[in-house]
Structure formats: structure tokens, C-alpha cells
């Protein structure tokens, strides 16, 4: 076996040194009556060549974004990723290193994490960020748990414009500790309805959770929502599912957000059928001791040289056990590294330019699709790179027709919103050429 260096002869030499006759003696503590007396019933070992052939055949059964035109977003976005990301994260020193508990020999990972935390703060306008969490939905759930720790309250108000799966996951977490969950609807503009939010906000509410751009692609007026939450002493949690938008949008930190949680997949991470992704989590300095997850801090070594360490460990499970701020003991270090390389490569101008192209291309598509017979815009609010199209024909039929032209045309919103069963959520990114957009419009029955 190419992954196991020791041969039978090596093993025999070691067994002799240990002072046993056979490996079975080392397993003597495993009761004989429960041991497996047959080989595992899984396929026999594949050679590297056979493995590649098998997995290539499986991969070929999937429609990938190189072969199909994608107008599907809904929390997972098809953005361009510079080649250097794949090359740099493949360096074994990043790929195959452990969690940096030994800072003297982990400074590469630690400095990269410190840069990641800084970039997330700059992008979101928040004061502190952790070193990353699993993905957007569980990060949002962790934000609610943190709001509970800060306020001591057990009710939450969540806008329906928050990604449906983030809401589902948040409920799964919250039902463990008997939280009361309120949902607030949306206006004809597609933003969160403040008139529905207000009556739900009481002094029992730990936080108001909204998303911007929200699931319909609509940019929320966060400042007004923050004021409403703060008026009753609740925190404002802003979920972000499409962080590329923050290249253009006013950051949540400047709008009164107390916690920003969300998904970093847009920042250079492949769609990969749903993961691994990147949970973003940022907050204000005053809540630093309530922050969940790993955090890296700058300090100095004995000679006074700057270096980085995992810090604030007294919040964490390996010290606090059942009193920890979260049960999480990992981050998404390598995925956060991808986002770090992406943000640094695009930089101050690039992220803005990418965001602007998303906005402009989506606006082009939105304007023209709205004029196609049988199509109209469901919401009137400003959107970033996604928008909701109301259609006269059944969305499933439309999507089926598009598939025959190798176009994955968007999301049938009826899947998550029964009242929007006549709507499609359409996404356009910088990866969609005008030719592709025009083809979509034509396929939907529109002219040029």
C-alpha cells in the first residue's frame, strides 16, 4: 500500500521490540466476540489509475459551469477565481499543516489568518472578526446564540428575506434551547417590512436578523432596521450571502450592525455542490469575549519580534468545556486562506470593479427580461446581482425549456416561498457574457 511505508518485515521487527508475537496481541482489549471476523464489505482497493477513471466518470454525469450557462445564485455564486489561489493553497505547508496551536512553527497560517480577520473587518466595516467558521447558515445560527449571551433574551425576529436555509439551520440550533422565533415579511419593494418588524420587537428580543442583499437580491436599508432593533435593546445581525456586493454597498458596520455573519463562498471559493464554504463572523470590540470560534492575535516573541498566536482561548471548549461560548473547535483555515488570497489579489480596485460588473450585467438582464412577454419584475427595490422575475408560465416549464439549451436559468422560488410559486430568482455575475444574457432573453421569448 503506497500510503503505508512499513513493510511486513518492518512490522515484525517492531513487534519483536514491543515484545509480542503478533499484532493480534495488541488488540487483546477488543472483546473477541465483537471483533469483525470478515473483511469490510466495501469495494476492493483501486489503483490510482482506476480511481481516476471511476471518479472522472462520476464527475462527467454532472453538469458543470464550464459546459452549462449558469444563472443560478441563491447563496452560491459563480465568480471568476484567479489561478494563483489553487496554486498557493496547494503548497503542502498550508494544505497539510495542523491547527496552529504551536505558534513557533505555524506563523504562515497565523499571519494569513490575521490578514483574513483584517480584510473581513475592512469589507464589513466591523471592528473584530474571528478566524472563520463552517459556512453561512451555521454562522448565522451562532450569531443568534451570541446575541442571547449578550442580552440574556430568548426571542429572535428573523426577516423572510434571510436565506431560507439560514433560517432553517437557525431554527434547528434554536429549538435545542427553546428560543421563540418570529418571522417578519417583505414589502412590495422586496425589502424587510419595518411595519411588520416593529410590533415584534419587544424587550424580550435578543436580535433582529436581516440579510443584505437579501434572498431576493434586494439591497436592504440597514440603518432604519438597526434603529428599530436598538430602540428595544436588541442587536442587529446582518447576514451576508453575497460578500462581493460589499465592494459597492455601504458596509453593515456603518449602518449600525452589531454582528455580521454569513457566507464567504463568493470570495474565490469553488461552488463544489455546496461546500466546503466559509462562515464569516464579525462584531464590535465590546463583544469580543462573547465571540465564538477561533481568533488570532498579534503579539511578540522573547526577542521582541512580532508574531501571531491563537488567543482568547478562555472562551473555547478545550478550556471552558460546558461553559464555552460555542462547541466549535475548528475554523475553515484553508478556505479562509482562499478568500484571503482572493481579496488581496483583487484588492481595493478589483473588488469594486467586479462588484460593478455584477451590478451592471444584472441590470442589463433585468431591464430586458422585464420587457419579455409574460415576464415582469416581482419587486421594485434596488438589486445587486440577483432579481425576482414573475412569470406567467410555470417556472418549472420555463427552466426545463432552458435546460434543453444548456442554460440553468435560475431558482424556482416556490421551493422556499409558496406565495412566490410564479417566480424565478435569476442571478447574473461577471462570468455571464452579454451573448449568454441575450441567449437567455431570446430563450425566454424576448427579442434583441
Amino acid at each position: 500500500m503506497r500510503y503505508i511505508p512499513n513493510t511486513e518485515a518492518d512490522c515484525q521487527a517492531m513487534l519483536a521490540a514491543i515484545g509480542v508475537q503478533s499484532v493480534d496481541e495488541l488488540f487483546a482489549d477488543v472483546p473477541a466476540e465483537v471483533r469483525l471476523k470478515r473483511p469490510l464489505r466495501i469495494p476492493a482497493a483501486a489503483s490510482e489509475a482506476d480511481l481516476v477513471a471511476y471518479l472522472r466518470a462520476l464527475a462527467a454525469k454532472n453538469a458543470d459551469a464550464d459546459r452549462y450557462t449558469l444563472f443560478l445564485g441563491a447563496g452560491c455564486y459563480n465568480h471568476f477565481t484567479p489561478a494563483i489561489i489553487g496554486h498557493l493553497i496547494s503548497r503542502g505547508e498550508f494544505l497539510t499543516s495542523y491547527t496552529p496551536y504551536q505558534p513557533e512553527i505555524s506563523q504562515g497560517t497565523l499571519q494569513a489568518m490575521y490578514e483574513y480577520q483584517t480584510l473581513i473587518c475592512q469589507l464589513t466595516g466591523m471592528e473584530v472578526s474571528n478566524a472563520s467558521m463552517y459556512e453561512g447558515a451555521s454562522a448565522t445560527a451562532e450569531a443568534i446564540l451570541m446575541a442571547h449571551r449578550v442580552t440574556g433574551r430568548r426571542e429572535v425576529v428573523v426577516a423572510q428575506g434571510v436565506h431560507p436555509e439560514y433560517r432553517q439551520v437557525t431554527r434547528t440550533y434554536a429549538q435545542q434551547i427553546q428560543f421563540t422565533f418570529h418571522e417578519a415579511g417583505y414589502t412590495p419593494a422586496g425589502g424587510t417590512d419595518l411595519a411588520q418588524v416593529q410590533p415584534l420587537l419587544t424587550d424580550r428580543v435578543a436580535c433582529l436578523v436581516v440579510q443584505s442583499p437579501n434572498f431576493f437580491g434586494v439591497v436592504e436599508d440597514l440603518t432604519a432596521l438597526a434603529a428599530a432593533a436598538h430602540a428595544v435593546g436588541a442587536l442587529l445581525v446582518v447576514a451576508v450571502a453575497e460578500p462581493v456586493a460589499l465592494g459597492l454597498l455601504k458596509p453593515p458596520g456603518e449602518c449600525g450592525a452589531d454582528i455580521v455573519a454569513g457566507e464567504g463562498q463568493s470570495l474565490g471559493i469553488p461552488m463544489s455542490y455546496g461546500g466546503p464554504y466559509l462562515g464569516v463572523f464579525a462584531t464590535l470590540e465590546k463583544y469580543i469575549r462573547q465571540l465564538p470560534g477561533r481568533v488570532v492575535g498579534a503579539t511578540a516573541d522573547r526577542e521582541g519580534r512580532t508574531g501571531y498566536v491563537l488567543t482568547l482561548a478562555t472562551r473555547e471548549q478545550h478550556i471552558r468545556r460546558e461553559k464555552a461560548t460555542s462547541n466549535i473547535c475548528t475554523s475553515q483555515a484553508l478556505i479562509a486562506l482562499m478568500a484571503t488570497i482572493y481579496m488581496e489579489t483583487l484588492g481595493r480596485q478589483g473588488l469594486r470593479q467586479v462588484a460593478l460588473q455584477n451590478l451592471q450585467k444584472a441590470a442589463y438582464a433585468k431591464e430586458r427580461l422585464a420587457k419579455v412577454k409574460g415576464c415582469s419584475l416581482r419587486f421594485s427595490g434596488p438589486t445587486f446581482n440577483e432579481f425576482v422575475l414573475q412569470v406567467r408560465r410555470k417556472p418549472a416549464d420555463i427552466l426545463g425549456g432552458l435546460l434543453r439549451k444548456q442554460i440553468i436559468g435560475g431558482l424556482d422560488l416556490g421551493r422556499f416561498y409558496p406565495e412566490l410559486a410564479d417566480c424565478l430568482l435569476v442571478c447574473v455575475t461577471e462570468q455571464n457574457s452579454r451573448e449568454q444574457i441575450d441567449a437567455l432573453i431570446a430563450a425566454m421569448g424576448g427579442g434583441r
Binding site: Y3, V30, R91, L123
Partner: protein, 499 residues
């Protein structure tokens, strides 16, 4: 140090933070020309909702980014550079072919919401992986969704809670041995359970009597790690499971140490109801400096109705995602799990096959016992028995010379080894927990043993050399107290003079 020591020093570069590199206007990206009519952002979104700039964001060229990260990478220890004897972390070799497979466009460039008929290959992989893991664990169903081991634990305890709730009472307590990983009690607390600690017996394992004394109808579950964090097989597990089941409780197994028993014994055959696996341990997906992980959870049939949605099902030749699970605990994360990580785990399992996986366990156990046998005498062994995949020593023989576990750990770096897991499990004072895995050759183990013995000698003869270690890495010991007391968690621009 002798010439056989692998730890040494090559040319190491200094590299500032990226924020201190570059200059205004420098770019590292390229973008196709805009092919739709240009419109100002303010015409599409109200100006009050827009920003002008991202202050502080880097302005660097592509070559600067490449050099920045390449230099920083060289400050890291990694499996690709040397042995990682980290107990309970199973730092084994990460096969490169698995990386290539996860990056095939048909896996990496597919959207989680694209139609099922266009995702059959991905669904088939998930379905087959579930079957493989169920067989390896001796369980009936597996959810592949949890993002890491602790997330798997959380899912597992939620399943147990839902199971008890369906019977009318969620119960209030979870029994956890004191040797358990900290995530076990933290997870129980997140699920609203009170933790009932039990001590390990004199042989380092949990005695059935200790469980029987605290087990009652208010206990939802016992959480056991098997093999445990002392590297010992919990040999009373079958009896403990009977005691717990008799009172209607569930047996949760933390599968962090599954590597030691894969193919030898199946947790499901021991009476375990739920187990999470760490694919980044047993199934070799790269740690990546601390994530992404993966924590599939396997359950017995009676818990299957509560699994998180979606599950992957097969009807005829067609695979699909099923959301039709009325008693499900709900969703534990977005979409369908960390698919890219699961591709790597699947590739690993299929590369080894049944014989290879069993060989993994056997060689991992031989390697650990070899270290145990060779270091006995040089270091104090709190439990004198054969071990499974890891052995636990402590610093009792070095403390009289004022050398502690932390010093021994740091000194190992100078010899070219990553330190073992230290000060864990908590029940061994000054623990040094060593797990070599099956990836290390006898020669590497001999070098490690020689380094450990040399450090034991140094502790007696040149204590300062050990206490001030490490001497070889680019930086020395960090001031962790300062980091925690005066948190500096992000770069900020230096204030211009005069402000």
C-alpha cells in the same frame, strides 16, 4: 544534536503584512472588458446605500501576492515536511490524487441547486460514500452534512434529543468521562443538557459500575470516545451499553480515534447508537491549517427518522435528495454538506479498500506501541499497558529537574518534529500524547525516539537548553498573556504624524 537530526534551518525570508506592501494603484487582477452598457452605480442603487472605497484594502501585483504567501508558507510545519505525533489528531499523509479529484470541474464547478438530473454523479458519490461509512461503522444510515467533528457531535446529540422528545421526554443529563475531549461537554451544553462527569477507573477506562451509579431515566445519553484519549480501548463498552440501554438511554461514540480500529471492530457491533467520524483524521482529508473538516454521523435504524435533511436516496438507477423526513431535526447547515471534502474521503476509502483500511489500523497500533516500548523508562508512563493508536506519557521524570511538558514539546521542534498533543487528556498531569499514525516509517519513528531520548538527557544535563527552546524556528516562544490581555486582532493603519 547529531547529523541525523532532520531539523535545521534553510534560507528563511521575512515578509511583512500585505497591508504594508504595494502602492496606490497597483493591481493583481484582470477582468474582461464590460460588454453591456456602462451605468453608474448611483443610477441603480440609491447613493445612501453605497460606499466609495474599501479603506485599507491591499493594492498589490500578482507576483507580490505569490511571493507573500510562498514565503509565509515556509514558516509552517506540515505533514509534507515531517512527522506530526499529535495524539487524537491522526495527522496522516494526505494523498495528492484526492486533491486532483475534488478539483475536477464536474465536482468543483457544480451548483448545489442545479437540477438533480444534472447532478447524478455527485449524488451517486454521496450515496456510495454513505454505504461505505455505514459498513465501516456497522451502522444503518449516515448523514454526510456536518462540517466538522464538533458539528457532527452537535448533530448526534440533537438526534438523541429528538429521539427522546418523540418518546415524550427529552431528559436532562448526559454522562461524559473526564478524559473526554472538551467538545463533548460543550456540545451537550449547546443542546441544553447538564453534564454528569464520570471518572475513569485505575486501568484508564470507564468501569461499568461508575456508569450504573449515575445512570437513571433522566440521562439522555453517555458519550464515550473509543478508543479513548489515553489510547486505550474501552473494553467494558458492551456492558456499559447494556446498562445505558436498560434505562432507555443512548450510547454516543466520539469517533475521533476510529483510525485505530477501522476494519478490526465496528462501533455498531459494540452497542453504540450514534457515532461521528472525523474525515480529516481517519479518512485523510487535509487539515489545511485548521479546516475544512468533515464530521459524518452514523446511526442505528431507530434514529434514522430524525436525521437532518436532505438525505440521499436511490430509486432504480436514479439518485435524489429527499426532504421528506417528517421527524427530522431539520437542517444543520446550508446545501448538501462539504461535498469537496467528502470527495477526498471517498477517494481515500476506495484507494485502500477493505484490506488497506484494516492495515491502516494495524500499522497505526504497531507504530504507537513501538514508541511506547522504546520511550518507557526515559519518560513516565501513567498507565502501563499496551495502547491502541496513541500512547500517553507525562513529565513526572523531568519535573524534578524543572523541565516540564511544554519545554519538551518546544525542544522537539529543534529536532525537526512537531510536538505531541500536550496537557491532554486533563486526567494525566503534564500529559504528552503521541499518535504516530500508519504514515510514518520505522526509520522516522527511530529518529523521533532518539530525539525524545536526547531531550530526556538534556533535561538532566542542560536544562536551560530545553527550557528556552525552540531555538531553530524563525520566532521563539510567544507572549501569549499579552495577546490575551491586550487583544490585537487586526491591522490598522498607523496614524499620520500630527493626529
Amino acid at each position: 544534536m547529531s547529523e541525523t537530526t532532520v531539523g535545521t534551518r534553510g534560507l528563511v525570508f521575512n515578509e511583512p503584512l500585505i497591508f504594508e506592501r504595494g502602492s496606490a494603484g497597483r493591481v493583481g487582477y484582470s477582468l474582461p472588458a464590460l460588454d453591456v452598457p456602462a451605468k453608474k452605480a448611483e443610477r441603480l442603487i440609491p447613493a445612501a446605500l453605497l460606499r466609495e472605497d474599501i479603506p485599507g484594502f491591499p493594492e498589490v501585483s500578482e507576483v507580490e501576492v505569490v511571493r507573500h504567501f510562498t514565503r509565509m508558507s515556509q514558516w509552517n510545519y506540515a505533514i509534507d515536511t515531517g512527522m506530526y505525533p499529535l495524539g487524537s489528531c491522526t495527522m496522516k499523509y494526505n494523498p495528492r490524487i484526492n486533491e486532483d479529484m475534488a478539483r475536477l470541474p464536474g465536482f468543483a464547478r457544480i451548483h448545489p441547486y442545479q437540477p438533480e438530473e444534472l447532478s447524478q454523479g455527485a449524488l451517486q458519490l454521496l450515496w456510495e460514500l454513505e454505504r461505505d461509512l455505514a459498513e465501516i461503522c456497522g451502522m444503518d444510515r449516515v448523514t454526510l452534512q456536518p462540517s466538522a467533528g464538533a458539528h457532527g457531535e452537535l448533530t448526534g446529540i440533537m438526534l438523541i434529543r429528538a429521539y427522546h422528545e418523540a418518546k415524550g421526554n427529552p431528559r436532562q443529563k448526559v454522562i461524559i468521562p473526564e478524559s473526554a475531549h472538551g467538545t463533548n461537554p460543550a456540545t451537550s451544553a449547546v443542546c441544553g443538557y447538564q453534564v454528569l462527569p464520570v471518572k475513569s477507573g485505575p486501568r484508564g477506562v470507564v468501569e461499568p459500575q461508575a456508569v450504573a451509579e449515575v445512570m437513571d431515566e433522566n440521562v439522555a445519553a453517555v458519550m464515550l470516545t473509543n478508543p479513548n484519549t489515553l489510547g486505550l480501548f474501552e473494553d467494558h463498552i458492551v456492558e456499559i451499553a447494556k446498562i445505558v440501554h436498560a434505562k432507555g438511554g443512548q450510547v454516543y461514540c466520539d469517533g475521533a480515534n476510529l483510525n485505530a480500529i477501522v476494519g478490526v471492530v465496528r462501533p455498531g457491533d459494540l452497542g453504540i447508537d450514534v457515532i461521528h467520524m472525523n474525515v480529516h483524521k481517519t479518512f485523510s482529508t487535509p487539515h489545511g491549517g485548521g479546516g475544512p473538516g468533515g464530521g459524518p454521523v452514523a446511526v442505528k435504524r431507530h434514529l434514522a427518522p430524525f436525521l437532518p435533511v436532505p438525505t440521499v436516496e436511490k430509486k432504480g438507477e436514479r439518485f435524489s435528495l429527499s426532504f421528506n423526513l417528517p421527524k427530522s431535526i431539520g437542517k444543520v447547515r446550508s446545501f448538501t454538506g462539504s461535498f469537496g471534502v467528502l470527495v477526498r474521503a471517498f477517494a481515500y476509502i476506495r484507494s485502500l479498500g477493505p484490506d488497506g483500511l484494516r492495515r491502516v489500523a494495524e500499522v497505526a497500533v504497531i507504530n504507537a506501541n513501538y514508541i511506547l516500548s522504546q520511550l518507557k523508562g526515559a519518560y513516565h508512563l501513567p498507565y502501563e499497558r499496551h495502547c491502541m493508536h496513541e500512547c500517553v506519557f507525562d513529565d513526572a521524570l523531568q519535573v524534578p529537574d524543572n523541565v516540564k511538558t511544554l519545554d519538551i514539546a518546544k525542544r522537539l521542534m529543534d529536532y525537526g518534529f512537531h510536538p505531541p498533543t500536550i496537557y491532554f487528556p486533563l486526567i494525566v498531569h503534564g500529559a504528552l500524547m503521541i499518535e504516530p499514525t500508519e504514515s510514518e516509517s520505522k526509520e522516522t519513528l527511530d529518529q523521533f525516539i532518539a530525539a525524545m531520548k536526547a531531550i530526556a538527557r538534556e533535561a538532566k544535563e542542560q536544562g536551560d537548553l530545553v527550557r528556552e527552546a525552540p531555538h531553530t524556528p524563525r520566532v521563539s516562544r510567544m507572549d501569549e498573556t499579552r495577546a490575551a490581555r491586550q487583544p490585537n486582532l487586526r491591522w490598522r493603519p498607523k496614524a499620520p504624524p500630527g493626529t
